[in-house]
Amino acid sequence: MADKLSRSRVRSAWVFLAPTLIVLALVAAWPLLRTIWYGFTDTSLLEMEKSKWVGLDNYTGKGGLLHNKEWWQAVRNTLWFTLLTVSIETVLGTIIALVLHRSFPGRGLVRAAVLIPWAIPTIVSARMWSWMLNDQFGIINHMLLGLGIIDTPKAWTADLAMTSIVLVDVWKTTPFMSLLILAALQMLPKECYEAAQIDGVHPVKVFFRVTLPLIRPALMVAVIFRALDAVRVFDLVYVLTTGTKDMATMSIYARQQLIDFNDVGYGSAASTLLFFIVALLTILYIFVGRVKLGDK
């Protein structure tokens, strides 16, 4: 009886799962396989039905990605961007999380204010910042000139494209980071601090000796989570540095080949390489995060 019941439950479980699995197969598995397949062909966007198999030409061929300077530049830009943003965001996020962890009047409001950059669409924040960073009329140049930090206006989004992108990304995603770290801080046992406080240990020492080791697992997960996001950066670069070719990231490069140059084969190959980088990071994430799977 019980056996029959559980078997019918399992059957209905699959019925319940079916719509989701079908949709995911349609919008994730199929397009991914299709993209990987396109990467081995010379398909053009104008005639997507006509594809000729070219093997590894898009990767290792004469003009293949691995021999393409522009692509390597995009890889370097992406990795550099990821390294810079994630490390700055981790440090800033930790500081903000530590501040929000203390109780003080108006903490709820401060937390809401910190969430605002996260809620603003990336496109909008890119536009807002490109106005602030405008070389002639921007407030950033105005401020820095007024403070005597720079003596001539800087062309932020052209000559200093990487700095600008990092600046805006840090502004936009540090809130997310600090919330993750705050959540980790709030789960820590209070006794550790109290013991340290009684012993009169300096707060900075408490942070590095007690707090940091305790939140390190959560911090690692947050770092990898952010890195995954940073590696696929697209919107910000697309809007903020329109025209500066040498600031392309891997996503920008792949889309450019695909859509602007109609080269579905080559663009798909570039997408596929990005996918494998992200897949590696994801495996790392699952491994580090030791995901709870439900079966104990």
């Binding site: 439950r9 399992v10 209905s12 479980a13 319940f16 799962l17 989701t20 699995l21 995911l24 349609l26 919008v27 994730a28 397009p31 396989l33 299709r34 993209t35 997507m48 903000i96 501040v99 401060v110 937390r111 204010a113 910190v114 969430l115 605002i116 950059p117 996260w118 809620a119 603003i120 669409p121 990336t122 496109i123 909008v124 536009r127 807002m128 910042w129 106005w131 602030m132 002639q136 009329f137 105005h142 502004w171 919330l179 993750l180 997960v221 947050a222 919107d235 809007v239 329109t242 025209g243 996503s251 889309r255 695909l258 859509i259 798909s268 994430y285 699952i286 799977l293 439900g294 079966d295």
Partner: protein
């Protein structure tokens, strides 16, 4: 209070002020700029001098901005409805029924949420063309499932797994069908989690850019982010900054309101999606 603690308190207060300024100032400056016209726009001010709403009028007149907003609302709404419906049914199966391969399935779904959008771009483009959905709003709703659905399933599964077993035992003994158990027993308890995931899915769909840019062609099908990104003036050196700032404020205000109202829910949803996993 000694002088030392007073100084410490003062420094802490300054730090808090600095954080708030850093977070809020760009949005404040966008509002400020959106209220200036003509040559005023090109002078740097830190405080509003006049309240001029001309930019708000002209952004709606010169662009199909109202259509873009409507498109964004429709796409985000249907994305939320579809991913919540699919997510709740799938979460019930994943959270409440033991079967072989459940862990692997959950892991696969979590893996999908990490897909870079560019990685599926050409395949998705071909799929949408085959389905005859190119340059239409359903194309966006369908493609957005790739990032809203895994997240929704994941958070709802974690939530449902923690509900007590006794809840459904009585219903099972009464011979209620799984569909009845889901809709009558669990759904009434699921609202908090559904509001959270729904909000996050809404924000994700509202902000999405790459698919919207690639799968739509004409202005009457574009969503707000694409509309704002493609706003341009007579030449690339004369961007209509006043209009762009006004448009930015218009699309951001509802989000800021949502964040202020649902702050706690959003925070718990975000951390559940990333850390709790």
């Amino acid at each position: 209070m000694t002088a030392g603690t007073a100084i410490k308190k003062g420094l802490f207060f300054l730090l808090v002020v600095a954080i708030v300024l850093y977070a809020v100032f760009p949005f404040y400056y966008a509002i400020l700029s959106s209220l200036k016209t003509g040559s005023e726009l090109f002078r740097v001010d830190y405080f509003p001098l006049a309240w001029n709403f001309d930019n708000y009028v002209s952004v709606f007149k010169q662009n199909p901005f109202a259509t873009n907003i409507l498109n964004s609302v429709l796409v985000a709404f249907f994305t939320v409805v579809l991913s919540l419906f699919l997510g709740v049914t799938a979460a019930y199966a994943l959270a409440r029924v033991r079967f072989r391969g459940r862990g692997l399935l959950l892991l696969t779904i979590l893996g999908v949420s990490m897909f870079p959008q560019v990685a599926v771009l050409s395949g998705m483009f071909q799929l949408i063309r085959t389905l005859g959905l190119h340059n239409s709003l359903p194309a966006l709703v369908l493609s957005y499932m790739i990032f809203t659905l895994p997240f929704t399933v994941w958070v709802l599964t974690t939530f449902m797994r923690d509900l007590p077993k006794e809840l459904e035992e009585a219903a099972i003994l009464d011979g209620a069908s799984p569909w009845k158990i889901l809709t009558r027993v669990f759904l009434p308890l699921m609202w908090p989690a559904m509001v959270t995931t729904g909000l996050l899915a809404f924000i994700a769909a509202w902000n999405e850019f790459l698919f919207a840019l690639t799968f739509t062609l004409t202005n009457d099908k574009r969503t707000v982010p694409v509309g704002i990104a493609l706003m341009s003036g007579a030449s690339s050196h004369e961007l209509p900054w006043g209009n762009i700032m006004a448009a930015s404020v218009v699309v951001t205000l509802p989000l800021v309101a949502l964040v202020l109202v649902f702050q706690r829910r959003i925070v718990s949803g975000l951390t559940a999606g990333a850390v709790k996993g």
